[in-house]
């Protein structure tokens, strides 16, 4: 028998595919739709205390091998967002992850405390959005000390298990991972978007995104995401569960992430390539791989690429 269930931060997932933050998850209904389409858990778009308007469009576009986006952490503020989480909790039937962002360490704590009232299964701390630099300065996730402080502040303010989502845009992701693990993170998710990058429309002679720069995701970034997971697994000695996010599109990509050290995978851009049914498809492909290669659980595959 093949069992594709997995566990992150003490929360059981029926399958290891997680709707990644920033995709679909604007409303409770959209998260429930992703869950109906086979996602093992769903993450809401990052929410903050105050309503924030989106950048003018285009905010996201596809290019040959990926997506480039700069949505700008838009949101309707915490009250409306909490109602959406509660709706998802009631109707998704799978664990619901609330992603949070903030401008200061203290605000991260306040946001975590407030959002916990909506009873999400996990809280994901977004210290890695590359698209709001001018407002928030350097992402908190680029410095191990700051990343650890944010993690501690969030942990202090909630009993809900905490995922810290890391940026690949650092010299050494290992030291950041070790720092947040020591600060009490229950799960690490890597990676947020790579970059920022830029695409210039040569006829219009202008960057095509309104924000000019945007984070890259999709198949183009997958080798980087795999390397980050591999490095983090090694640095944390496999003691903390990892979510591998970045370009996972097919079952084999998920298996690659497991072998690098992930216990679950985030899926976002692949919705563009294989539509919303991608969650079910990837789960089926993982199952087929496991049958063909005599694996009976996800756990058996986690980190095997590290063995000599």
């Amino acid at each position: 028998m093949v069992d594709i269930s997995t566990s992150i931060g003490g929360i059981r997932l029926g399958n290891p595919t997680i709707l990644a933050s920033g995709f679909m998850g604007v409303t409770g209904a959209s998260m429930a739709y992703a869950a109906r389409s086979g996602a093992g858990a769903v993450t809401m778009k990052s929410l903050g205390l105050e309503p924030r308007k989106v950048h003018p469009c285009p905010v996201v576009l596809s290019f040959d091998k990926g997506l480039i986006n700069a949505v700008g952490l838009s949101g309707s503020g915490i009250e409306e967002s909490m109602a959406e989480i509660e709706f998802a909790k009631k109707h998704a039937g799978v664990p619901v992850i609330a992603s949070i962002f903030a401008g200061t360490k203290k605000e991260f704590g306040m946001t975590a405390k407030e959002v916990s009232k909506a009873k999400p299964d996990l809280i994901e701390v977004n210290i890695s959005c590359p698209n709001v630099h001018s407002e928030f300065g350097r992402p908190f996730g680029t410095d191990p000390k700051t990343a650890a402080e944010v993690t501690r502040e969030v942990k202090k303010n909630t009993k809900v298990p905490v995922i810290v989502k890391l940026t690949p845009n650092v010299v050494d992701i290992k030291e950041i991972a070790v720092a947040v693990a020591k600060a009490g993170a229950d799960v690490i998710n890597a990676i947020n978007t790579l970059g920022p990058g830029m695409i210039i429309n040569i006829t219009a002679k202008k960057p095509v995104l309104f924000n000019k720069r945007g984070g890259l995701s999709g198949p183009a970034v997958r080798p980087i995401a795999v390397r980050c997971i591999y490095d983090i697994y090694e640095a944390t000695k496999g003691k903390i569960p990892l979510i591998g996010t970045g370009g996972v599109t097919y079952g084999n990509d998920a298996v690659e992430m497991f072998m690098a050290g992930a216990s679950a995978v985030g899926i976002g851009s692949a919705i563009h390539y294989r539509d919303i049914g991608v969650f079910r498809k990837v789960s089926l492909e993982i199952t087929n791989f496991m049958k063909a290669n005599r694996y009976s659980s996800i756990k058996e595959m986690v980190g095997v690429a590290h063995e000599n």
């Binding site: 920033g22 679909m24 604007v26 959209s30 739709y33 596809s62 967002s81 095509v208 563009h272």
Partner: protein, 269 residues
């Protein structure tokens, strides 16, 4: 072929449809299906979705109703100026042979005008009901008549056609022409809700084109998902079958703005 990155196209012709609505024609074989939309990019300004309102082998057109800063800016452009286009996106109407009725409210007539042309080419018999606030906002009449469409008009002030609602005309039409198989509609949701009820009463099929705030246009951002089913207007829509629309809790009640905040439709009703 779907265009993923905007291609910059020159506006070949601007047709003034009314004091605040222009149709822009582009030389490009878009190959959209009626009901599909494109994203129109004004570099450095913004990008918004527009239904394809005209299409032949070589050209396509969009019609812009000047309501906000973007649409007013777009309407100030002239032939020879350029805009970015990507798409076509979304699911279009199902084209039915036989006798059909189209009901367009205000600028909702735009996707239906393209549909009417395409249905006429297939040999369908088309009754097109245009609802508008006054004579200035009645769109596409000459073009539709030329294509052999039977046009009915209702205006709020009676300055053109019948004084009253497009739905009143539809009610009579469904009574007098039992052979009508299908009703297609696009316009204010309060009007489309009445049309769904009329179609239910008369046992007619009906397809509805809905509008919601969109960002990506290709089904990944989740901005246009409708409560409570979560379907994406840009991907599973914008055209939906009436029985599906009846399951949309937010239909004719509210929509969401760019930040995701709910905006009540028909306040006071």
């Amino acid at each position: 072929m779907k265009i993923e990155q905007p291609i910059v196209l020159e506006i070949k012709k601007v047709i003034k449809e009314s004091s605040d609505t222009n149709t822009f024609l582009f030389d490009y074989p878009l190959r959209a299906r009626p009901g599909q939309f494109v994203s129109v990019w004004l570099p450095g300004v913004d990008e918004k979705p527009f239904s394809v309102s005209y299409q032949d082998e070589k050209r396509f057109g969009i019609s812009c109703f000047g309501v906000g800063p973007f649409s007013k800016k777009l309407n100030s452009l002239r032939a020879g100026e350029k805009v970015g286009i990507r798409g076509p996106y979304g699911k279009g109407f199902t084209s039915k042979r036989g006798h059909v009725a189209l009901v367009g409210g205000g600028c909702g007539a735009a996707p239906l005008a393209f549909l009417a042309n395409s249905l006429r080419k297939m040999g369908s018999k088309v009754d097109f009901i245009i609802g508008a606030k006054d004579i200035d906002h009645v769109l596409f009449v000459q073009r539709l008549k030329k294509a052999g469409v039977h046009v009915h008009i209702a205006t709020d002030d009676g300055s053109c056609g019948k004084k009253g609602f497009a739905t009143d005309i539809l009610k009579n039409l469904l009574k007098s022409k039992k052979e009508i198989k299908m009703v297609y509609t696009c316009g204010p949701e309060i009007m489309m809700k009445k049309i769904i009820d009329l179609c239910d009463m008369n046992k007619k099929n009906c397809e509805i084109s809905m509008e919601r705030y969109m960002k990506c246009g290709f089904g990944i951002c989740g901005q246009c998902c409708v409560d409570n089913v979560g379907l994406r207007v840009c991907k599973e829509g914008p055209v939906f079958e009436k029985n599906l629309v009846k399951r949309f809790f937010e239909f004719n009640k509210y929509k969401r703005d760019a930040s995701g905040k709910k905006i009540i439709l028909n306040p006071g009703c």
